[in-house]
Every structure is written in structure tokens, then in C-alpha cells.
């Protein structure tokens, strides 16, 4: 039963005596306005010559002067187009379909443009594959307006050069007779593959090396060995009934990501059924947080467990030691899988050829419905061997020309020093990148490249599923994309657009219309693709230089299953601790480290923004002496740890992570970038230095380092005052068998000495909202994976300011929508209570001495729940009644309005809000050098949504339920003289949620999806006992706890 569970956001809350937790709970604003800073300094005050009279004089004068100055309005110029583009109507948004394919993120998306400026990323619902934009893709529109972008080609020394100089140098070098190498990201692009092939044909000593910063080498090689093509299996988790994952963060960036929407569909209980998800992992990942059962296990044991699973399913035995409780879980799983073989799917994220080979074998053996090897994905094609051999050739001085595009090896290679040594021996190196970066600094020329929103391109994300990338704005600067440059070097007069059109008309479209494909953004080919060029470029098998061979990862080309199982079963533990490197939802491989939205985005698990960190289990932290402590202003401090892998050391702050497998630590990629970055953005440490041999599992020596790190961690901020019933959850069994009153309990209050449901008692008279629209939002805790795409979408739509690390630490972050993460112990505490009652004597089997130690530490392996919280738009809103100036008021349509220009900043409303969703503008966050983010420069401001106000200092702001969007939908309908269709009502978060967790609509339209969801048994309101009658409702989280 849900009510017996204790939920907590931070380890500190488990300690009943923590005064800071209590203070944070009771105070909406932890810190007062820091008047002490200027009033507390007595000496300065006394020594100043300004007396009270002077002060009043100045105040009076400046007030008079200001009001006089206000009398004369400024002259505003309006400059219309000379020739207006046909499709642009000022004030009306246009949408264009395009594709992001930056080598890490691949997605078919729509771009909303206003007056020609891209301002927002939306999901492309026509796309059957990768049509959902994750947080990084949502934020990528801001990277277009990065003020630190290169505005034209430069030399390696940082001087401006012209494109002609680079072109001439490259053309001259191509003929030098030495090797020419293209070192690029994964394009998965038919046109680029064809172009590179043609470039290769024109220059026989040219080779193309694809490099992924975060490699999927093992999975790619295993797939290639089995199916003869360098690609990745495509999984459809919607079809899976049992999902077993060994360290695969498939809701994150595992194998290119994009699996979350299918997964979520299978997680919503329909006719009593939902998938069962068991996760074995070391780090607490987003995927593990969503699992029904999560087993904290180091990679070493994950391998053994995988071997055990394979052997058992195969009817043999593998050997190897695994902990007893893990074996029990596995046995249960095996029994379950045996009942429903094709409904099960096994995945793994361990960079080990044996693991990946066994995973493929298991899925084939099960004939899993979720497993698609026939139409695989091409989103990772990097070839580690080819990269290493290229570096070896470079060091040997064999390479004459090196063209780099879309990758930053000087930052992301673990052996960047080798690369540097190599590139210095290359005659000419040209680095294509949007920003000045580490690699640009060591190249001959830094070629300023287009952002993807300025580029033409295409992608084959999955075999037969094509997407087109079209520019949504003309190049802002003097930039040129790689492909256009190659065309130029080949002496072609064609633009890359012409080239793509030719490719598509010849090889892809099979007679379909090209313009239609551009309009849709996606095209699914019906037939089989036989043209070898179109197979993504990954199949290039490079002759590997002998001297490079020793650098390679030691894997035989074909791994026999038997030997793989043997190796796995005998997997050895790490020396010292085991480090698992991972990518964070917000930062990925770090390409967009300069994006303030992503920096400010709190990680879904740790709730830390502006940092990466070492995650350590509580037990290990105690042994090693690491601490996390909360300080009075609500911030969190942590110790530093020094990590050493094979002599390479990195010092990073420590986060004690509930659920981290004992003996393991985690560290995320994507941080620690320095070159070409604003100082505020230079956060975290570079984990790629530890990414040796491109393996995400490393043996690490860990010691405590000096000092304390100040985190910007929001996990204890904006708590709901210790009130209960925030999260409601139950198990599938109870959900299926018992009445909803039992598992979705409505809190009772006493009225006239009678226990009645809290929802039936009211202080206010009810307002009739049955006429017109009445907006409601439904949030399904089962479908929400906590990915955070909605948070960034809200940022972009509503011009939410970025406040920086120091302010986030003081709980002054401005997110209108936060995703609360709650931990709870696996089962109820009742088990512990029984055990405690059964203690018999001090020692012995039931002795209390050992018994108390055995009592499960709730933070050892907690369950996790995510809960997006925004303004609940209460029908009986506590904020409205306390506003002295009526700045916040209620509408008939259910939205709680906030008139910023009326607000005087008393913050009474924020104090009175039980959900803590109101945000106060402590400072002016635009045009303020103290907050030097995108709103402080003209370029960055181009992302601002013109339909939403940019708030000033001293006012409260909060979620408006995207009233600008609902009003637009209503107006469109009025203008056309029709009713509003259900799907037209969207908020930024609901349209960003490709998982279907957030649904928005009009409940007075009985046919609408949200009206039906409101009738669901799982529906509940947040803090029903408070009686606020919110217009946002949640669905009880159901976990599938079927053990066998």
C-alpha cells in the first residue's frame, strides 16, 4: 500500500535530526535579501559622507528625474521587408521538418520559426523512428545562437582567413601524394556516404575514418560478426513483455538512444498488463530508476549474471560466482522468460565484445519480438581500430592531409596526446566545427562549420527510414558545411542541395516526390536497398597498420559463443574500484557544453546542475571518508575524489548516490571543456581522459582529495513541506485485483465529526466551469521516464531565464517545470519492523547485534519515482487569495493567470503555494552582465519566443499552462469558424513528451483524451488533502513486481 511508504529526495532526509532539511522544508526562500552585504558593514557606513538628508535628496531628485524622463517615449523604428518572402507573415510561426544528426543525437524534428528565426524544436509525429527530441535536441536551437560560435574560418593561430585560402591549401595538398584522411562523426547519411565514395574515387590515397566520441565498438563488431554489416540492432520495447538490461541505459543514450517512447508505451498498464523491467547495473541510471526491479551490481557480476542467464535459458550451466540474492532474481526471471520467450528481450551496455555477442545470441534464441536485426540502426558507426591506425599513421608522418568534421578528438580522445603528436606531423589539417575547440587549436585551419539548422543533409537512422535535414535559416556567419566544401574541392559546381536531390531521386525515392519528402522530413522506402553506396559508410574495412595493432582492443574477429560465455563466467573484478563511465541526459558527449539551458538542467537522478561528479555508494563513501553535507543556504557540499586509471588522474567532486553498486563509482562524459568556452560554462572534469581503450568500464584507484566542492543541487529545494501523498504507487498485482479505493486512497478529513474524503470538503463556493474550455493536464507516472525533454521545451517556449550555478545553489533556479525525483526503499518498512520484533537476544541468529546491521539500509538500493511538477492551476488557488494587488487570478478556462506587470513582488503567493512552483526574479536576468548567458547578447536573444513576455526583476513567474498556445488554438478555430480539435490543445511540455506521459486538453470536451484520462481509476491530485482542486492530475505509478 502506497501510504506506508516513505519517500525522500535526499539521503539527509533519512536522518531525523537534520536541522537544515527541516529549515529547507519550512522556508520557501531560504535566504533573505542580503541587506547585510551593504548595511552590515559598519565601518563603511560610518565613513561614508552621505547623511540621511542627502540620501533623501538624491532619492527625491532621481525619482523626479526618472518620471520626467518617462514622459518622453522613445522613438521606435519599424522596418518592413523590402520584398517580403512569400511564406512569412510577421507574427505567424512557420514549421519546417528537418533532422538533427550531429553524430551523437539523431532525430527527425520540426523547427518552429518566427520571422525566419528558428525558436523551438518540436517532435515530428510523422516519423516512425526517432521522431522524439530529447533534452539536448530540444536545447540545440539555442546552440545556433551561441555567441561564441566561430564567425568565419580561422587559422590554427586564431587569425581570420578566407575560405579561398583554405580551399587553395586543400586542393594543393590533395595532389601531394601523401595520405589523405577524413576523420568524421557518424553521419548515417546516404548522400555524404556517396560523396565520400566519390571523393575517394577521385583521390586514391584517401581514407574515411568514422569516430564516435563515445564508442559502441563492441556492439557494432558483434553485430558485424553476426550479420555482416556494421550497424546496431533496433529494439522495439513496446513489444517486449520482459525487459532485462545489463547496464544498458536505453532510456538515456545507449546505442544512440531514442528508445524511451516505445518503452513507455509498454509501461502503461492496459487490460491488466504491462512490461516487466529488470535492470542490473552499477550506476543509478535513468533506466535503472524506471525499472520494476533494479539490482545494483558491478559490471564484473553483470557479466557473470549474463552468462548465467544465457546458460540457464540454453539448458546448460556456465559456472562463475554470483551473489545469492542476484541468483534468486535471475532464477525468477528465467522462469518468467521461459513462459513467454518471444516476449522477452535482453540488452547490455557493457563495452565488451563477449557481452554483446551473447546478448545477440540470447535474443535470437528467444526469437524476441522486440529485436530487429533485419532493419538495423546506423546511428553509431565509429571504428576504433581505424581511428587508432590513423593516429599511428599520423605519428609516422604518413598523412599529408587531415580533414576533421563534427568531432573533437583533442577533447574526447583518451589518448589526445598521441593525436596531438600526430597532427603536428600532418602537413595540412582542416577542422570543421561550429565553435573554436581543442582540435581547432592544433589544426592548420579551423573551418567554421554550419549549425545543423543552417545545413542541408540527410540521414538513414534505421535501414529504410530516411530523414532530410533542411536549413531553417540562412548561415548567420561566414560558414560552410563540410559536404559543400568537399564538393568544392572536387571541382563540382553543384550545391550540396543539388547533390542530395540527385542522390534521393536516384537511390532513395523510387519515384516519389522529393519536395514532398522535404516537407514531411521523413521517407520510408518500401523496397529492399541493394545499392552498396547507400549502406551507411560504416562498412569501410580499413587495412590496419601493423604498428597500430597492439593498441587495439584485444578481440578476435569472430567470437564463439562458447568461449564468450566462458570468458564472461570467469570475469575478473576490477583492481581497486570499478569505474563506469556514462553520459548524462543533459550533456551527452559534451558537444553542447556551451548551451546554458543544458548546463542549468538538473540531472534527473542526482538533481545536480552545472557539474559532473563521481557517484559513490554510501558504504564506500563511509570507508573512503567522502561526505555530502547540506549547508544553511540550501546548497550541498561534497568532498573531492582523485580517480586514477592507468596513471591518468582526474579530481572530481563526490556525490553519494543511493543505489550505486558497492565497489563501483560512476563519472559522466561531456564536461571539463575549456577551449573556446565562456568561463561560466567551463564546468566539471573531462572524463574522456579515463576512457581508455574506448571501454566504459575501468579499474580505478580512488582517494580522497583536499577541499570541498559546492554543488548546485536542487534535490532538497522546493519540497512540499513534508506533506505526504505526493507519490502514489502500487503493484500490478494489487492494481489488478483490488478496488482502486484501496490503492488510490483519497485522504479523509473530519467534517462534523464524520470521516469524509478530503476532496468533498471546501472552504470556497465552487465556480461553474462547465461552459467553454476547461483545461486539464494529465501526467502518467508510469509513462514518465524523467528524461527532461519537457523541462527544456518549457525553457524554450516560455523564455525562462538561466540564472547560473551560484543562484541555482541558493534554490533560485527559474524552471517553471521541475521533475522531482523521489527515492523510496524497495519494500515497505514493515518487513524491518517484523524483523526487529523477532530479535531474540543480543547475539545469535536472531540477535539484535548483527540484526540491526542487517536491517536494510534504505539508501542502498532504493526505488525511484519521477514526478514532473509545474503550477497545478488550482481551482481554489491559495496563491490568489493572498496576493495584495490581485496580480494572480483565475480564469474560467482553468488557468491560473499571472500578470507580471501587476506584480509588486511580495512573494506571499510563493509562500502560500503548497506545491512550490512559483519562481521569483531575484535579479534582472536579461541584459545583465552578471548573468552572461544567452539573454545578455543580441545573438542569444534571437531564440526568445515573441509571444511570451521576458520578465523583469522583482516579479513572480510560473507556469501559465502555455496560455499563448491555447489562446492561439482557440483563435485559429474562431477564425476558421470551427470547433477546436482535441489534439490542437498542447502545452510545450505535452507536445515535447514523446512518451505520452503528459497529456493536455479540454475536459469539457468529453471525447478528448484528457477527459477520458481523468475518469481513470489511477487518477489522483497532488496533495488532495489541502483541497486546492488542481487542474493538473497524476496517475498512480504501478510497478510490475511479478517475480516469477
Amino acid at each position: 500500500m502506497a501510504s506506508n511508504k516513505k519517500y525522500w529526495k535526499s539521503e539527509a532526509e533519512l536522518n531525523p535530526d537534520d536541522s537544515i532539511v527541516e529549515a529547507l522544508r519550512q522556508n520557501e526562500f531560504v535566504e533573505d535579501i542580503p541587506v547585510d552585504e551593504f548595511l552590515g558593514d559598519k565601518e563603511t557606513l560610518e565613513s561614508s559622507s552621505t547623511n540621511r538628508r542627502d540620501f533623501l535628496k538624491y532619492v527625491g531628485f532621481s525619482t523626479a528625474a526618472a518620471s520626467l524622463a518617462a514622459c518622453e517615449g522613445p522613438v521606435i523604428k519599424s522596418i518592413p521587408y523590402v520584398v517580403a518572402p512569400e511564406n512569412i507573415v510577421p507574427g505567424v510561426a512557420n514549421f519546417y521538418a528537418t533532422t538533427i544528426a550531429d553524430g551523437f543525437d539523431f532525430a527527425s524534428i520540426l523547427i518552429k520559426t518566427r520571422e525566419g528565426r528558428p525558436i523551438k524544436v518540436e517532435n515530428n509525429k510523422d516519423a516512425k523512428v526517432a521522431g522524439g527530441a530529447n533534452a539536448r535536441v530540444q536545447a540545440s536551437v539555442l546552440s545556433l545562437y551561441d555567441s561564441t560560435r566561430m564567425q568565419g574560418p580561422k587559422s590554427g593561430a586564431g587569425e581570420d582567413v578566407s575560405w579561398d585560402v583554405i580551399d587553395a591549401a586543400v586542393k594543393a595538398n590533395l595532389k601531394s601524394g601523401k595520405q589523405i584522411a577524413l576523420l568524421t562523426q557518424t553521419y548515417a547519411s546516404p548522400s555524404t556516404s556517396r560523396l565520400v565514395e566519390e571523393f575517394k574515387a577521385a583521390n586514391e590515397n584517401l581514407r574515411h575514418v568514422t569516430y564516435d566520441a563515445i564508442s559502441e565498438e563492441a556492439a557494432l563488431t558483434a553485430f558485424e560478426d553476426r550479420y555482416g554489416e556494421r550497424a546496431l540492432v533496433d529494439y522495439n520495447f513496446e513489444k517486449a513483455d520482459i525487459i532485462v538490461s545489463f547496464g544498458a541505459d536505453f532510456l538515456g543514450d545507449w546505442q544512440g538512444g531514442g528508445y524511451d517512447s516505445g518503452y513507455s508505451k509498454g509501461r502503461v498498464p492496459k487490460s491488466g498488463k504491462m512490461s516487466r523491467h529488470v535492470q542490473f547495473e552499477a550506476n543509478m541510471s535513468l533506466t535503472g530508476a524506471n525499472a520494476d526491479k533494479r539490482v545494483a551490481l558491478t559490471a564484473q557480476f553483470q557479466k557473470v549474471a549474463l552468462a548465467y542467464l544465457y546458460a540457464k535459458l540454453n539448458g546448460t550451466s556456465a559456472g562463475g560466482e554470483i551473489p545469492a540474492d542476484v541468483q534468486k532474481t535471475l532464477d525468477g526471471l528465467i522462469a518468467l522468460i521461459r513462459k513467454n520467450k518471444s516476449g522477452a528481450v535482453v540488452v547490455s551496455g557493457i563495452d565488451d565484445i563477449n557481452v554483446q555477442t551473447v546478448v545477440l545470441a540470447i535474443n535470437e534464441m528467444l526469437a524476441s519480438k522486440a529485436y530487429d536485426s533485419k532493419a538495423p540502426r546506423y546511428t553509431r558507426q565509429g571504428n576504433v581500430k581505424a581511428v587508432q591506425s590513423l593516429i599511428a599513421d599520423m605519428k609516422a608522418g604518413k598523412v599529408g592531409t587531415l580533414i576533421i568534421d563534427g568531432v573533437n578528438p583533442m577533447y574526447s580522445l583518451p589518448n589526445a596526446a598521441d593525436f596531438k603528436e600526430g597532427i603536428e606531423k600532418v602537413d595540412l589539417s582542416v577542422n570543421f566545427s561550429t565553435n573554436w575547440n581543442e582540435t581547432a587549436a592544433v589544426s592548420t585551419y579551423a573551418a567554421a562549420s554550419n549549425h545543423y539548422l543552417e545545413s542541408w543533409g540527410d540521414a538513414q537512422i534505421k535501414k529504410g527510414h530516411y530523414s532530410i535535414m533542411q536549413p531553417t535559416i540562412r548561415e548567420l556567419f561566414d560558414t560552410r558545411q563540410f559536404q559543400a566544401s568537399v564538393l568544392k574541392w572536387m571541382g563540382s559546381d553543384n550545391s550540396y542541395y543539388d547533390y542530395i536531390k540527385e542522390t534521393w531521386n536516384t537511390f532513395v525515392l523510387n519515384g516519389s516526390d522529393f519536395n514532398k519528402a522535404i516537407q514531411d522530413g521523413v521517407f520510408v522506402s518500401g523496397g529492399d536497398l541493394s545499392d552498396p553506396i547507400l549502406m551507411a559508410a560504416g562498412s569501410d574495412k580499413e587495412p590496419i597498420a601493423q604498428e597500430a595493432a597492439e593498441n587495439m582492443i584485444s578481440a578476435s574477429p569472430v567470437v564463439g559463443i562458447a568461449s564468450a560465455i566462458r570468458e564472461l563466467a570467469n570475469a575478473k573484478g576490477a583492481e581497486g574500484m570499478e569505474l563506469t563511465l556514462y553520459s548524462k541526459v543533459g550533456m551527452g558527449d559534451g558537444q553542447q557544453a556551451n548551451n546554458p539551458w543544458l548546463q542549468e538542467f538538473p540531472d534527473p537522478i542526482t538533481r545536480v546542475a552545472w557539474d559532473n561528479y563521481v557517484t559513490v555508494s554510501k558504504a564506500d563513501a563511509e570507508t573512503l571518508g567522502f561526505v555530502n553535507e547540506n549547508v544553511a543556504n540550501g546548497g550541498m557540499d561534497g568532498s573531492y575524489a582523485k580517480l586514477t586509471v592507468n596513471g591518468v588522474s582526474v579530481t572530481a567532486p563526490v556525490i553519494i548516490q543511493p543505489g550505486q553498486a558497492k565497489g563501483s563509482v560512476g563519472l559522466s562524459y561531456g564536461y571539463g571543456k575549456k577551449e573556446g568556452m565562456k568561463s561560466d560554462m567551463q564546468t566539471g572534469v573531462n572524463a574522456f581522459a579515463l576512457y581508455q581503450d574506448f571501454t566504459n568500464i575501468q579499474s580505478v584507484a580512488i582517494t580522497k582529495a583536499e577541499g570541498n566542492h559546492e554543488f548546485a543541487c536542487v534535490q532538497l529545494h522546493k519540497t512540499m513541506m513534508g506533506r505526504g501523498d505526493i507519490i502514489k504507487e502500487t503493484t500490478l498485482e494489487i492494481f489488478n485485483t483490488k478496488d482502486h479505493a484501496e490503492w488510490n486512497h483519497v485522504p479523509q478529513v473530519s467534517l462534523n465529526h464524520q470521516e469524509v474524503p478530503a476532496t468533498s470538503v471546501d472552504l470556497w463556493e465552487s465556480f461553474d466551469r462547465s461552459i467553454g474550455h476547461h483545461f486539464n493536464m494529465s501526467i502518467d507516472l508510469n509513462a514518465c521516464t524523467g528524461c527532461g525533454a519537457c523541462v527544456i521545451a518549457c525553457h524554450a517556449e516560455n523564455n525562462v531565464p538561466v540564472v547560473g550555478k551560484a543562484e541555482v545553489r541558493k534554490s533560485r533556479d527559474m524552471h517553471w517545470l521541475r521533475i522531482d525525483r523521489y527515492y523510496s526503499s524497495e519494500e515497505t518498512f514493515e518487513g524491518d519492523n517484523t524483523k526487529k520484533d523477532d530479535f531474540d537476544g543480543l547475539t545469535g541468529d536472531n540477535g539484535s547485534l548483527g540484526g540491526f546491521g542487517e536491517l536494510e539500509d534504505p539508501s542502498a538500493n532504493p526505488q525511484v519515482s519521477f514526478q514532473p511538477v509545474m503550477c497545478q492551476h488550482c481551482n481554489h488557488a491559495p496563491c490568489e487569495t493572498v496576493c495584495p494587488v490581485a496580480a494572480t487570478s483565475h480564469s474560467r478556462q482553468g488557468q491560473n493567470h499571472m500578470a507580471y506587470n501587476r506584480c509588486v513582488g511580495t512573494r506571499y503567493c510563493a509562500n502560500n503555494c503548497p506545491y512550490k512552483v512559483r519562481r521569483f526574479n531575484w535579479f534582472l536576468y536579461n541584459n545583465n552582465d552578471e548573468f552572461d548567458f544567452h539573454m545578455n547578447n543580441d545573438l542569444g536573444k534571437m531564440v526568445v519566443n515573441p509571444d511570451v513576455n521576458v520578465r523583469s526583476r522583482g516579479v513572480i513567474e510560473k507556469c501559465s499552462m502555455c496560455i499563448q498556445k491555447t489562446q492561439k488554438s482557440i483563435l485559429d478555430a474562431k477564425r476558421d469558424g470551427r470547433l477546436v480539435a482535441d489534439e490542437e490543445f498542447q502545452t510545450a511540455c505535452s507536445s515535447a513528451c514523446s512518451n505520452g506521459a503528459i497529456v493536455f486538453g479540454d475536459i469539457n470536451d468529453k471525447e478528448s483524451e484528457v477527459a477520458k484520462l481523468k475518469e481513470s481509476d489511477r487518477m489522483y491530485h497532488l496533495l488532495e488533502s489541502v483541497g486546492t482542486k488542481p487542474n493538473v492530475f497524476y496517475h498512480v505509478k504501478v510497478r510490475n513486481t511479478t517475480e516469477a
Binding site: 518622453e72 523604428k77 519599424s78 499571472m898
Partner: protein
């Protein structure tokens, strides 16, 4: 930029109108004469009616042809005679060409192909519906000597100015005379008084002056009465508070704001005299929140062929003359447009060198107020003039309405929602009007007063 308050404008207009009134009779007569002088219907030698021809020409040809000037097509002054002289082509050829130029080009006619090539292969529209007689009429019109814009011929500029001056002086004289008369009256009264008192003195009647000395002066009595002082002070304070409030509420309200624009664009000529629909140029008012300042290509839709202004042809009003709104002035403004859009008048093509016009924005709502034109224009079916005033009479555009929140709210309270034939309103209007017990709902009753409808 110049900022003229609305009230000043009115007083100025009143003053000027007096002057204009004095002159109006003269100009009216001049106009009548001009009408009479215009040749009624000159019969051409070949039997065409030039008046009818003019009408036909304006409807069918004027978009691309001018009598004296090369435009999209060649100039047509005495086209027939010229054709005969230069090419030896007769009227029959012209019939064929006008009715189906493409056919003639196809048939391989040498001159037809030549002229086609000369004008950038822009095919002339075929006019199969024009009869031979119509074409005769048009040709008769083209054969006539085109009237050189008789703008200033009728009323010579200098003379007119002189007239204006003269009338000004006469006014002053009248006023001066009046002042003189008053002065004389005052003097006479004074003299009479003096004479009378002298007579009285002579006849020995003493002037009674004691009364005044015994009575306390009224201001002293007033100052002694505390009540009166209090009331006066209160009245005074209230009064000044009233005016201070009124003045303060004017801050930020730019009603009557009429800045000088980079191009003198006259709404009076476009929307008033030529009756161009507002939304022809401000087309985005139909679908966007912005009414939009028309891009210059919209101007060029008409101004490609309207290269000079001759609207003042017959009679320039005194007011216009005073302001300098002559034909030359307006033509000069059209040239400014050409310079901005990069239109080469001689070559009849765009040079590609454009210079966007920096208009001064007149109506400017603060950023925190959301206003949508299409909502009001299309859904509410409100005339543009409701908020923008008599634009068709505005020579210089100014802000007619205060654009304050009170002004918005007032209208929302008073205006009924236009629900007829709009399916969106069908259900909600039914239910709501029943609830409120009214026939027609106002915008306010529909929720048009809620803060969040305009502030987000």
C-alpha cells in the same frame, strides 16, 4: 521626432479652416471652370471616341502602358502613326496584336517578334474581348495630345499664396479695427465719467465714499472665516489633484502622436481618395497579431505604373499648398520609394540595391500586453477605423486612440461578440447567454476581461 498633441492639432485645424473657408468660394469656381474647359468628346479622324478610349485605356492598358513613358510595355502616344511611319504596319496589325499577341508572335511576324524580344520576352496579355471599335477608341485616345498634368496651370502658385496672405492681413485689419473701436469706447466712457464728475463737483454734490471705508474688505472677511478658507483649500487641493492625476495619466499615452516619417505617405490619398481597402496593404491583419507595415513590394504592385502624382490636377486646396503637398512633392515621395526598393524607372527593372525604409512606429503597445489584429479584424469584424480613427482623412498618420487598458476594457464591455455563422461560438454562446440571461454576449462576458487573456 515631432510630437504634436491632439488638442493643438484641433486648434490649428480650426484656425486654418477659417482661412480656407474664406477662400473656398474662389477655388470651387475654378474647379467648375476646369470641368467645362475639358474637351468633351473629340472625334478622331478614324472615327474613334477618345473619351471612351480613355476609359478603356485606363481599365485595360494602363497597368503596363503609359502614353509618354516606357513601362512594362512601350509608350503608346500616337502609336498608330508611329507604327505606320516606322514599320509600315496598319491598324489591322494592331487589331491582331492586341487581340492575340502570342499568336502573332508565333506566326513569325517580324515586328511582333522584335518587340517581344525588346521587352524581355514579357508576353502582352491577349484581349480577345475588345472589339475593333473599342480598339479604335483606344487608338483615338492615344492619338490625342496627352494633357500635361494641368495641376498648377489652373491656379498659379504665387498668386494663390498671395491670396492667402491677403486674407490673413484683412483678418488682422478687422481685428485691429475692433481693438481700436474698443479702445475708443473705453476712452469715451472714461471721458464721460470725468465730465460727469466735474459737473457734479461744479454742482456741489459730494461723492459718497465713506461706506467703503467702514466696511471690511471682502478678502479680509474671507480670510477671517476659517470655514471658508478650509473649504477653498480643499477645493483647491482637490482641483489640483484632479489635474495632476489627469496629467500623470497622460504619461506614456501617445494619443495624437504623429511623427514625421521617412517617406510622406498619405493615407488620405490611398485610403481616402483612391479607396484602397486597408487590408490590401496591411494584409497580415487578417491572419496575424501584427497588422504589418506593408513590404515595399506591395507598394510596387501599383507604383510600378503610378510613377507620378497628378491628383491635385484640377484644384489644389489651400491647405495642401500651405503644407507644400503639391504634385511635385508627392511625385518626389514616389521617387523615394523607388530609391528604397531599388527600382530603375528608365530601365523598368529592379537594380537589386535596396534600402529598407525605417518607418517610425506610431502605435506601440507595451510588451506585456498581447494584442492580436486578426482576432479583432476577422473574428470580431471590427472596422479598422474603430481604433485607428478616420485614417482615410489622415494626411499624416497619427495615433487616434489612447491605447490604454481602460480604453481596451471599455470596448470589451460594450462590444458584442460576433457569433453569427461561426461554429466555434455555437455551443458556448448558447450556454453562456442562457447563464447570464442575455441575448448577445459581450466580449467581457466571454472572458475578455481576464488578466491572462492579454498579459502573458
Amino acid at each position: 521626432m515631432k510630437k504634436v498633441t491632439y488638442r493643438n492639432q484641433i486648434s490649428k485645424v480650426l484656425g486654418i479652416s477659417l482661412v480656407v473657408f474664406l477662400l473656398s468660394s474662389i477655388s470651387l469656381i475654378a474647379q467648375d471652370e476646369a470641368m467645362v474647359v475639358e474637351p468633351a468628346a473629340t472625334e478622331d479622324a478614324s472615327g474613334g471616341d477618345a473619351t471612351k478610349g480613355k476609359a478603356l485605356f485606363n481599365v485595360n492598358c494602363a497597368a503596363c502602358h503609359n502614353l509618354k513613358k516606357k513601362m512594362t510595355g512601350p509608350n503608346l502616344y500616337k502609336v498608330e502613326a508611329r507604327l505606320m511611319e516606322d514599320e509600315g504596319l496598319d491598324r489591322e496589325w494592331l487589331y491582331k496584336w492586341i487581340k492575340n499577341s502570342a499568336g502573332l508572335i508565333k506566326s513569325g511576324d517580324a515586328y511582333a517578334n522584335k518587340i517581344y524580344a525588346e521587352y524581355n520576352q514579357a508576353a502582352m496579355t491577349a484581349f480577345p474581348l475588345l472589339s475593333n471599335a473599342d480598339i479604335d477608341n483606344i487608338l483615338a485616345y492615344t492619338a490625342e495630345e496627352p494633357k500635361v498634368a494641368p495641376a498648377l496651370a489652373g491656379v498659379p502658385l504665387g498668386e494663390n499664396r498671395g491670396g492667402a496672405k491677403a486674407s490673413g492681413i484683412s483678418n488682422e485689419i478687422i481685428l485691429g479695427a475692433l481693438v481700436l473701436v474698443f479702445g475708443l469706447l473705453v476712452m469715451m466712457l472714461f471721458l464721460v465719467n470725468k465730465t460727469l464728475s466735474r459737473i457734479a463737483e461744479a454742482s456741489g454734490i459730494a461723492m459718497v465714499k465713506e461706506e467703503a471705508r467702514t466696511r471690511t474688505p471682502i478678502w479680509k472677511a474671507f480670510a477671517r472665516s476659517q470655514f471658508l478658507v478650509l473649504v477653498t483649500v480643499i477645493f483647491f487641493l482637490l482641483g489640483s489633484a484632479y489635474f495632476a492625476y489627469g496629467w500623470m495619466m497622460q504619461i506614456g499615452v501617445d494619443q495624437g502622436y504623429a511623427p514625421i516619417q521617412p517617406i510622406h505617405y498619405s493615407h488620405k490619398i490611398h485610403a481616402g481618395e483612391n479607396k484602397i481597402e486597408c487590408k490590401y496593404c496591411h494584409s497580415s491583419a487578417r491572419k496575424s497579431k501584427h497588422s504589418g507595415i506593408p513590404s515595399l513590394n506591395v507598394c510596387m504592385n501599383c507604383h510600378k505604373s503610378i510613377y507620378e502624382y497628378s491628383g491635385n490636377g484640377e484644384a489644389v486646396s489651400q491647405e495642401d499648398l500651405e503644407n507644400g503637398y503639391t504634385n511635385e512633392f508627392y511625385t518626389g515621395e514616389i521617387k523615394k520609394l523607388y530609391a528604397a526598393v531599388g527600382w530603375d524607372e528608365v530601365e523598368q527593372k529592379y537594380t537589386g540595391e535596396s534600402k529598407p525604409v525605417e518607418w517610425v512606429r506610431i502605435h506601440n503597445l507595451p510588451d506585456f500586453a498581447y494584442f492580436n489584429h486578426s482576432q479583432h479584424v476577422m473574428v470580431g469584424q471590427i472596422e479598422c477605423q474603430t481604433c485607428h480613427g478616420p485614417v482615410e482623412e489622415m494626411e499624416i498618420m497619427y495615433q487616434y486612440s489612447p491605447l490604454t487598458m481602460g480604453w481596451c476594457i471599455n470596448c470589451h464591455r460594450e462590444t458584442n461578440v460576433k457569433t453569427e455563422g461561426n461554429e466555434y461560438y455555437a455551443k458556448i454562446h448558447d450556454e453562456l447567454s442562457k447563464k447570464y440571461g442575455v441575448e448577445n454576449l459581450t466580449a467581457a462576458q466571454m472572458g475578455g476581461l481576464e488578466c491572462g487573456k492579454c498579459h502573458y
